[in-house]
Amino acid sequence: MKETIRSQRLHESYVEVRHKSGLRMLLCPMEGYSTTYAMFGTPYGSVDVCFKTDKDPDFVTVPEGIAHFLEHKLFENEDCDAFERYAKTGASANAFTSFDRTCYLFECSENFEASLEILLDFVTHPYFTEQTVQKEQGIIGQEIKMYEDDPDWRVMFNLLCALYHVNPVRIDIAGTTGSIAQISAELLYRCYNTFYNPSNMVLAVAGNFTVDSVLAVADRVLQCAEPVQIEYKRADEPREVYKKEWEQSLSVAVPMFSVGFKADPGPYEENIRGSILDEMLIEIIAGEASPLYRQLYDQSLINQTFYGEAMAGRDYLCNMFSGESRDPRAVQKALYGEIARLQHEGLDPEMFEVAKATVYGRYVGALDKSEGVAGLMVSGAFNGVGMFEVIDIAAGATIEALQQRLAGSFDIARSAISIINPLQ
């Protein structure tokens, strides 16, 4: 199956192919680019701690941080690690684990086919032993410690811990030194066999390459596998927030804060469509062109670090405003006041047009880089909203649709604040 997906608006296109192995491939050759960016991903992230396949009798609960641990371990096989192989092609390789996906990627300027072969090969050939698992526990333990010192990271996770009672989105992506100590080679294989089946994965390539070159490598490397159906066990998350406040002290100069609003999640695709509109609401409530931003900035309650973010996933949806402030609670109060005012008085049509153009520009601008294109294609494959569709949703937003979302997406009764205070 091969289909060309076009954007009438941007006069651009990409190709979607379903490979015989079951792998879905999204391929976007970009004229004039010198590099190629490839991303091979699975919809398996830190939130997936309880699951089964259609072939398993029971659900399994795995230690926190295991998706990230698996990402690290996959780079190593019996003979050598993937970085050693990439060294021979010159590709710059990496991987990341987020809440709901794990992606392996590389960027290269030459030897694209050889690099793609390495990517498809090492991700589809796991090799875990108890010895190599133990060694990795030390390295990841250091990574966990590094994040413990990172106030930006802590302020966000403390907020998620305040908003959610049991939803695993509150779990740190790398887990804890305690949880990763429970990981074994056997558990890694169980996770791998569940989530790394080609029929559940996606390969996105953007930049300087030809579609035929990708197909040739895929034919050579990928084996056909029987498709696996995954069943994710959802946490029974109460509607209300877990705590209204969460504070921690770290060595920071000025207090840092994050104010979050918990919303009711729907199906994944609906969450993503909604979050694009929520981004516009964030601009209207406290974007740089809003009256509130001006008021807070003039009162020295926020500085240029202030930003808003919509966060949507498979079974979570929340919005947050974060930054530095000497008085985070005054910022929280002002945000509540402005949200209540907008809910009561309605949205300003001029601000709506500004917010819509801003969010549209943000998504079109992301297509300037092959990395942005590959990332949007992978997201689209997992959440059902294609790369060009995101831009059409932004361009087609209406003030009525935003007004409708305001109450549910920014519910003051379901909000919390996380604060990082300077050490005494």
């Binding site: 590099t35 300027s109 250091q142 010192d149 000025v254 240029q304 520009g361 601008g365 300037d368």
Partner: protein, 432 residues
Amino acid sequence: MDHGFKRERISDTIHFSHITDTKFKSNRISVCLITKLSPEKAAVNAVVPNILRLGCKSCPDFTALNRRLGRLYGARLYGDVTKYADKQILVVSIKGLDSRVTIHGEDMVRELSSLLCDIVLDPVIENGAFPEGATALERQNLIDTIESEINDKRVFARARCLELLFGGAPQAVRPYGDVEHAKAITPRSAYEAYCGLLKNARIELLFAGSGDPAAAKETLCARFAALDRPQAAPLGQPESAPAAGGIAQQTEPMDVSQSKLVMGFWCGDTDEQERYALRLMSAMYGGTPSSKLFLNVREKLSLCYYCASRYDKGNNILLVDSGVQAEKKEAAQAEILRQLEAIQNGEFTDEELQNTKLAMNTGFAATTDSLAGIESWYLTQILSGGENAPAYEQAKIAAVTRGQVVAAAKKVTLGAVYFLKENGEHKEESKQ
């Protein structure tokens, strides 16, 4: 591929450069004011871009200005302060979509260039000074920025190591200056600093993107050519680094979970060709996931989470930094030095050398695939007196021989060791 980089002279100290590449969907236009770093003036200069971005005579209201930017598809106005060797670079940039991908087809390049000129050249002035309110806000924000350098421990530790290496030289001055001088900023002193920069700083106007640079050139050149700059003189090359003498060492305790070890190395007197060899040597030493530091200090000995080296072309130094546990510091430091010695002794394979060149090729190519990368590349070229395209330098690196790498490594000597040491436990509490 030279990306059509063109540099045009407006006066001895003002230039307009443009790089056009139709593959992009955006344009980025920047005004860079370049001056010598000094401890006394760094802070007051640094506040200027942030006061400017709050408004101008044609759009004095910050909210109205941002609405104008928002309607221009979320065009972004940036005020930025960086450094390169002994120079402070104050940048005001604007970035926005190109006309061909907008919904209504606005003339984006002309709109953005004109607004940028208004912001930089026509600010709101009250009684011969910047407005009191704007100055007070940005003075406090600057103080917060300087004090918040501590938030990112890796960046903080590297800056400390640079201070150890350069002592009182301009290279040690932080781009935002220090809190003491920031506190002394007044509306008048900030305005005087602004006037001084327009009169005396070297001015580089840059356009990068897919649009037609002619509109940007016409607007920017006309407005900047009218500046009265009788005193402006070209900036010289960076002063040479202080002579190496002994190893400066400092350990600073802090309440963190992970310690940071930063080692600063002098690279001796070098010519252009030797600097290419040093870049290659640094990448093979600790610049890639197959480098000696990554494979040995992290992977083989599990001494740290990261261990990387970076060659600082402007200062001609090499910094190695690592996130370690305090009890492993000595072992990590010894291994970092042992790996350097290995390169000095020629203990590396031809394959390692070739692989490093391949990895660097990807970096050179990636530079040309992003607007920010292109702008940063050519600004660095301009600052170091060149106009080389990435492909030119890639070819120079490709020609570096094994012997040249060994010779370059032999010039590298340890100059400073800074250690940010973990000390105590975090306090965590939650309230309901």
